[in-house]
Amino acid sequence: MTLRRRHLLALPAMALPATLATPAHANPTIGALAPGFTGTDSNGAAIALAQFAGKPVILEWTNDGCPYVRKWYSSGAMQDLQRQAAAMGAIWLSVISSPPGEQGFAEGPHANELTRTRNAAPAHVLLDPDQKLARLYGAMVTPHIFIVDATGKLAYMGGADSIPSARAEDIPRATPYVRDALTALAAGQPIATQVTRPYGCVVKYRTQA
């Protein structure tokens, strides 16, 4: 009986064709612990996600040459989000994943210069020229936003807002997903929209041989 039952139950598994292979990148999941990492910031300091336990952490993929990033910095909207995060005690990490020779690549001094000239307010700018962090989070575009809540769980991933354009004048008309998510986190309320379509320029992944 036991054998027969096992045999019967084995059938469904066999009926499906052998399917998907291992994905080339990890997929972070809303509600699950965000992937831990240790990176280097624009001042050469080691930055680990774990060191911010108890505080929300925002990851912002950026590339200063990308028109979609420019939309957010020329309008001052990204800087506003960074200051909103700082005011609620959250840690804002801007991540530059462009490799040398590609648009957006920056070494420490240039990254700091960008922060100063753009009047930006990230807690740190992480330099990720080998795209390890980008692959770990499956960052697709610039800007691509991930919010980790105070308990270390991924609470939001997606676009900065709802209108996928490079026009700054669309920002006031769009649903401000990131601003809403930060407001909800600060008020201890659930985040209404947790996954949205990220839009922008492709992260400059080095083509693998």
């Binding site: 052998a18 399917t19 990148h25 693998q208």
Partner: protein
């Protein structure tokens, strides 16, 4: 004019090219692309559709995007300034190609591409007098990317003379675009597409030699439907093929899946088709059992049902039934068994009929559905109490003498008792599914009515069979001790499993209808007990006691019915709503959305579909799922434990069960993290077996 007509005739004959007139707007030029607006015909005619299109000639290495750009990018957008009454249709997007950059998948076009739009012109164009040219204005935005992305935009003005339209110099661009646009259902032979809950896209194309399909890929129209960069494994079969897609965060099985599929045949020729896949069943075949197998499964399921933990109250009744055969002739024993079997079969048929009728009326119900109603649960609790009281000897049924249930002192009363025992046994045994039952019930319900009834009859026959076989054994009755006091004592002892079952059902009501439901049900129990005591009084005494007893019983009985109606109107909202708080057993409530999210992320998931009224489910939870080793295995394998509670009606759970070819609980499904194939685990779980399955997930890919 004659020369022109002649030239047109020559063109139609394909003999000589007509020196066609160019109809192209101003050209927006950047180092990345030259872009212009072109028309298919060299003149316009009011009332006739007019095809125009944005022509993009991109520098080597640069590309622009399809309607769903993929993981990044943006499609072109058109904003027309048209004469009043004229409208522009949607862009007829040509088939894109795929570009993978690291984990980022994009759908787009390289080189030269035309994005055609059909304009509808009214029969009269008010601002224009006859013969005046038509001026079209377009503001377009598009994104071109190489390693970097640049949004571009421009205004285009295109003027068309009035007249008889003939193909312009740009018409071949439209022909190329048309040849490269996915076939729609209207332009192709009929084909069917279905998407399974796991993301298996199946296409059926009558007459297709699937062995000639060398390569195929799917692209959805909307973002988030699938993981764009996940591999799409192709499986070919007779008359069709399938692609294993990985569902994305926005995938909703019930909404279907729309997009295009691009097929390359053995000659290297590529064809693209537009499709709108409808929600289909799971990729696990269940409802396609041949008839003999369906009947065999049903028979086996019915027999095994006798042994499921669900039926422990029934075992008591069966024991009494067997004991009642003591001292009887074989003929009488067979008659009893026959009456029992008739009760079982009648109840199975009634259940099948009710299920079919409720489904035809659009209700989402499954096996054991009756236990989802607190009214039914309360009534069953009272019935079990009433039977228990009968066994305890409080009152008699069947002819008004001392005939207690199953005792069968008179032939008539005994037969009725046996019939009722059969009926009750089925009602009480149905909350659970047994091995084989899932496939048999789902198969039976999916089949034509006659087959459905046949399947249920076979299950009933299987359920009644062991008892009938015992009765049919020559001399079985003689093997039992002679009738005597032992039968009364056994019967009284077996009343206690009945009371125990009533207590369990009271607990089920507490989960379904909260404290109010418990109060109502327990009050009803009190009334039932009082009514039966009064019945017993009227049976054992004569004269005015008899009338008083009957009247009291009647009053108490009416009171109980009144109580039942209040229970029917008790809002189930008083029951604890499923909370999103972490449960003590580290499970999360099951929702299809949560499952889709976890599946999209490749997280291993263990699903437990359970109900408070399912004893098998509870036994499994205690014996296997609650064990520390299992908890540790969940944690070690990063397995998310989703629990669906079917105690109350829940269409989402019913739909999930049905998608997996099941119609009842328990159901245990393990989704290994990186393989798409879910594994359905046995309905009787043991710690060792479960650990073994969980270990397989951790090893990763399939054997």
């Amino acid at each position: 004019m004659t020369a022109r007509l002649l030239a047109l005739l020559l063109l139609l004959a394909g003999l000589a090219p007509l020196p066609a007139r160019a109809l192209e707007s101003n050209v927006a030029t950047s180092p990345r692309a030259q872009v212009s607006l072109v028309s298919e015909s060299d003149a316009f005619q009011p009332g006739q559709p007019l095809r125009i299109g944005l022509r993009l000639r991109m520098a080597p290495g640069w590309y622009t995007y399809w309607r769903n750009p993929g993981d990044a990018g943006a499609p072109a957008e058109f904003d027309f300034q048209l004469p009043e009454g004229a409208t522009a249709g949607p862009i007829a997007w040509p088939t894109p190609t795929r570009h993978a950059t690291g984990p980022v998948m994009s759908y787009g076009y390289e080189g030269e591409i035309l994005l055609p739009v059909t304009l509808t012109l009214p029969a009269t164009l008010p601002p224009l007098s006859l013969g005046e040219p038509l001026t079209l204005q377009l503001h377009a935005t598009w994104l071109v990317c190489e390693r970097i992305c640049v949004p571009e935009e421009a205004d285009f003005t295109l003027t068309l003379p009035s007249g008889t339209p003939t193909p312009s110099a740009e018409a071949p661009l439209f022909a190329t675009a048309d040849a490269n646009t996915p076939h729609t259902a209207a332009t192709n032979t009929p084909w069917q597409a279905e998407i399974s809950p796991e993301g298996l896209l199946s296409l059926r194309l009558p007459g297709l030699d699937a062995t000639q399909v060398r390569e195929a890929w799917f692209a959805p129209y909307a973002w988030g439907q699938i993981e764009h960069s996940a591999p799409q494994t192709l499986t070919t079969a007779e008359g069709g093929f399938s692609l294993a897609l990985r569902p994305g965060t926005e995938f909703r099985h019930q909404a279907g899946l729309a997009g295009i599929v691009v097929v390359t045949d053995h000659t290297g020729r590529t064809t693209a088709m537009e499709l709108a896949a409808t929600p289909g069943p799971t990729a696990i075949p269940a409802a396609t059992l041949p008839l003999w197998q369906l009947v065999a499964f049903a028979l086996a399921a019915g027999m095994i049902l006798n042994l499921m933990p669900c039926v422990f109250p029934v075992l008591a009744m069966k024991a009494i039934g067997l004991a009642a055969l003591a001292g009887k002739s074989r003929g009488a024993a067979l008659a009893q068994a026959g009456a029992y079997a008739a009760g079982v079969l009648a109840t199975f048929l009634a259940l099948a009929g009710t299920l079919v009728a409720m489904r035809a009326a659009g209700s989402v119900v499954g096996w054991g559905f009756q236990f989802q109603s607190p009214v039914f649960v309360a009534a069953t609790a009272w019935l079990l109490l009433a039977i228990g009281l009968n066994m305890s000897g409080l009152y008699a049924i069947g002819g008004g003498r001392v005939a207690t249930l199953g005792a069968g002192t008179t032939q008539r009363g005994g037969l009725l008792g046996s019939f009722l025992t059969g009926l009750l046994a089925v009602l009480v045994a149905t909350p659970c599914t047994a091995p084989f039952m899932g496939a048999a019930i789902a198969g039976a319900l999916a089949a034509p009515l006659a087959v459905t009834l046949l399947g249920f009859l076979a299950m009933g026959a299987g359920f009644a069979l062991p008892y009938v076989l015992f009765a049919a054994i020559p001399g079985f009755a003689r093997m039992l001790p002679r009738p005597g006091a032992w039968m009364d004592i056994l019967r009284q002892a077996l009343a206690f499993p009945m009371y125990a079952a009533a207590v369990w059902l009271l607990w089920v009501v507490s989960l379904q209808a909260g404290p109010t439901g418990v109060l109502t049900t327990a009050s009803g129990m009190l009334l039932v007990a009082f009514a039966l005591w009064a019945v017993g009084l009227s049976q054992s005494r004569g004269g005015s006691w008899r009338r008083l007893g009957t009247a009291s019983a009647l009053l108490a009985g009416l009171g109980a019915i009144a109580v039942l109606t209040t229970l029917a109107t008790t809002p189930t909202a008083t029951a604890a709503a499923p909370s999103n708080q972490p449960q003590p057993d580290a499970s999360e409530p099951f929702t299809p959305r949560r499952l889709a999210e976890l599946r999209a992320a490749g997280t291993p998931v263990f699903i437990n579909m359970t109900a408070a009224w399912c004893v098998t489910c509870i036994v499994n939870e205690q014996v296997a799922l609650a064990q520390p080793a299992i908890r540790q295995a969940f944690a070690a394998g990063n397995i998310t434990y989703l629990k669906g509670d079917w105690t109350r009606r829940d269409p989402a759970i019913t739909e999930y069960l049905r998608a997996l070819g099941r119609d009842g609980v328990p159901l245990y499904v393990l989704y290994p993290g990186k393989a798409a194939a879910p594994v359905i685990l046995p309905q009787i779980l043991t710690e060792a077996r479960l650990l073994q399955e969980l270990a397989r997930t951790q090893q990763g890919d399939q054997p």
